[in-house]
Amino acid sequence: MGLKQQLEQLKEQGLEQIKSVNDPQELNQIRVRLLGKKGPITEVLRGMKDLSVDERPKVGSFANEIKQEIAGAIEKQVKVLDAVALQKRLEHETIDVTLPGRPVKTGTPHILNQVIDDLEDLFVGLGYQVIDGPEVETDHYNFEMMNIPKNHPARDMQDTFYITKELLMRTHTSPNQARTLEAHDFSKGPLKMISPGRVYRRDTDDATHSHQFHQIEGLVIDKHVTMADLKGTLEVVAKHVFGEERKIRLRPSYFPFTEPSIEVDISCFACGGKGCSVCKYTGWIEVLGAGMVHPNVLRGAGVDPEVYGGFAFGLGPDRFAMLKYGINDIREFYQNDLRFLQQFQQEVK
């Protein structure tokens, strides 16, 4: 058999072997065996020294062709085997995507603070500054400056925790009206502020009373701020918190620090005004108190009521949250049962 035939035979056998290999390692062994320095092709080429000078290049290039053909076949088979291996691996790695995710805990803001933050953002957008004030107040700011002198019957409306004769737990956020009015420089423009915070009343805790709760005070003072502006502002709040379809209605009321004073009702969000248990079959729900700032409050804080005037309102985040989310017991806000708190995780607005 001539060299050429030997090479043909090697090629035939090699290609046959390569095709039938399933194992990458075996394929590698075949590569080494066929194409290595001790492989049969190299062996055959060693016999070239016996050939004529004319024949050598022909056989040489033929041998190279065969080498390349075999190498190509191996390459092809590697890819085939790789694809098979990948397929196997993917099958092996398949997981149950319906199993629950690894728990990553995120915290839930307290629902009252969600309500407060939301209102703060609303008012900041309307050009209001957010102002803090002390929780331990003086009788002077909590009462006297709010036009509630000693022995005023309105002091009975707000049972007070006194610390000393002059110091007390603030019963409302209204003292921040006086504090802000005193500090404000009206030559630099109007005063628009809200002041959220904790307030305290001497009450026995039960489902509807809490000795600690929250208020947001609002105050707008300028040369021409009207009661119609108050109505419009409260409409914005009502719609923002309780829904675009809400209507409001004002009823006369009494606060010593506003005149005129009003209570504000919103049309019932549960029944739309037809009457239901939420609104006690009236179609309306009382949500806040407001009014035009009493001249005595302005004068007391050094602001001329003949020139400046405006409105104030006080709203209760606790009440808002209770109404909006159907919470029946105000104590839930302060007992901090995690199951209660965490249910508000989804609620951002």
Partner: protein, 804 residues
Amino acid sequence: MKISYQWLNSFVNLQEIDPQKLADQVSLTGIEVAGVIAPDEGLKKIVVGHILSTQPHPDSDHLTLCQVDIGEDEPVQIVCGAPNVATDQYVIVALPNSRISGNVKIKRGKMRGQASEGMICSLQEIGFSDSVVPKEFQNGIYVFPKAESAGQPVFPLLGMDDRMIDFDITPNRADTLGMHGAAWEVGAMLHERPQFPEVEVSETGQPTGDLLKVSVSEKNLVPQYLLKVVQNVEIKPSPLWLQIRLWNNGIRPINNVVDVTNFVLLEYGQPLHAFDYDKLTTHEILVRRAQQEEPMVTLDGQTRTLTSEDLVITDGQNPVAIAGVMGGLSSEITADTHNVVLESAVFDGTSIRKTAQHHNLHTEASTRFEKGIDQGSVTEALQRAVQLLEKLANGESSQSILVGNQELPEEKQILMDPKRVNHVLGTEISVAEMGTILDDLGFGYELKAEKYSVTVPLRRWDIFIEADLIEEIARLHGYDKLPSTLPVGIQTVGGFNKRQLLIREVKQSLLANGLDEVISYALVKENEAAAFTYDPTENIELDWPMTQDHAVLRQNLISGLLNDLQYNLARKQSNVAIFEQGNIFQKVNDTDQPTEVPTVAVLWAGNVTDSNWIAKDRAVDFYDLKGVLTNLLKTLGLADRVTYVADQTLPELHPGRSAKLLIDSQTLGFIGEVHPSLQHDRQLPPTYVLQLNLQLILDQKQASLVSQSAAKYPAVERDLALIVDHQVTNSDISDLIKSNGGKYLSDVQIFDVFTGEVIGLKKKSLAYRLHFQNPAATLTDDQVTQAMDKIQTALQDQIDAQIR
């Protein structure tokens, strides 16, 4: 006060408006209405019966068989168990299939074998409160005072078809605590002028001054004190129409004299008092302050020990009434009374309030004096009572009024500028409409130079200034007609201050780390207030707490968080990771407001993760909490400035597992495990807490952040393992490494801590990975080795480290 629709209608034309509708309208224009009460609600088929004959029940010693005319062709038999049943009475009969109080259905039936066609009722059985039923009918059936036609419904006869509108007044509108005031209010709303009965007295008796002398020693507390005597009164029950007015308002009819004083109270809002003239020791009335510990028995039979703050009426010797609060038993009107002294007065509200509070004695009279009465009708109310006693008790009234004091305030004149009204309200109400509203209110006015000069009657003592008049115009014009606008004018920029922004940032970080926000009570138990506090101040205590659980202001937030933890543990919630942001309170001195320090605190107990299909459970430890803190401090740009010092000063913390946090030398707060004995006492799992003073953070000058590009040149890492004495801390070592590592040392990470016998007792092994980085060039091996050598030498020399 409950305003009777029928009574009101006798003063003002109510235009046949449905009572509920009227109430709704009143709510929108003036006075909040708590509800409309229908006394006959739920009752039906209850009629007048005439008892034609009675005979004892054959098989019972307390039942009576009554033949009763109920307006049918034939009388019916009704078995009655009341002791006061008798022939010829006109009574209340609940027919078969009727409904009486409590939604009870009455059926035709037999009682001990005798047929009973219904039931003869007491007032209580048709819904009267026991407290208003006249004494004579309290333990039996009600008997009408005169013949009524049998078979007609009882409701109109007893005033039960009336509708009571419950006025829930604010403190400024006590003028509506009488029917006259209510009539003015409702009349103004309906544009109807109220009409009141003429008050005329005959005065057929002696001059009052011949019967009585009076002096008032505290004239400033008693601006008006008027007396009159009605002689030879016949004490008897009041007519039914008057009794109805009283019981529909929750007042029990007693006798004609007492009832008249109560009736006038309801009519005018003016408290009156009647004394038995013949029971007064002397007839020289003196109004004075009581002596300290002077005793007196009030009408309710209670012995009161008076104080020198109380104002009393005396008969020259002894107190016979606590002024404006309650009369005395000794001069009570009884069936034997012949001559009556009537008192109509004004007492200082503050003084009355103190007395009512001190004796816990709040009456119809004291409430009205506290809230204020119409000082313009004190005389008329007295005369009205006299008029009624002349008519209803055949009394002879004394001539003229005996005056102890009479100082009437002046009617207020207030200037109201219509332009100003519209300026404040944002309306365009016409000058004429404002005039109409003033008219409807019964206010006098004159229009001068385009301004109204308004005269306010004394009954509206809540009106002082123009703003008060603006409110009257606004509410009667109607708030529903108010336009809806937003403030215009110079634009303002809204926003938060630094403190609010910091608080929001802090919360954001803690929430992102999986902590739930809580809000606890700022008022805590005495022993909780100053726990977990480095330098507690004296406690800030409430003067008069509601409960000992909330009596003292907190100086720390952890106590509240521990309560929250316990609350949750008791409800089987064992993984508790919570934080609170709020103020703590530090006493400054006895007079100034305390310092309120914005603070944040975290509590973590239970498992970081519960075991699940993919991971085992793991309990929280110190380093979990420290991780949260590190993230927070990084957010605030303070991670490098805060140092942790092992600390044992807080007795509530584990002495070996707590650290004081410092910024420079100032205390930022603490982190640590709650002391095991405290955990044991309160049955808590291992619990970790931290608290930070946010004010201190606010006070720090924040270095502004300047960005750096990511390094272009490769970093070099070297590991360093060492064995040291067990008391040497990580912080000692990393400080040494950092201070000796040269300028290219960019980071030091601890990656292993080991203790065990292999390395010897009281020793520990630690391993660090050091990162070197030159931002400007590639580091050479020499540079790094040099730095490492210096570090190792320092460690060996200074903490006796054994480098491995």
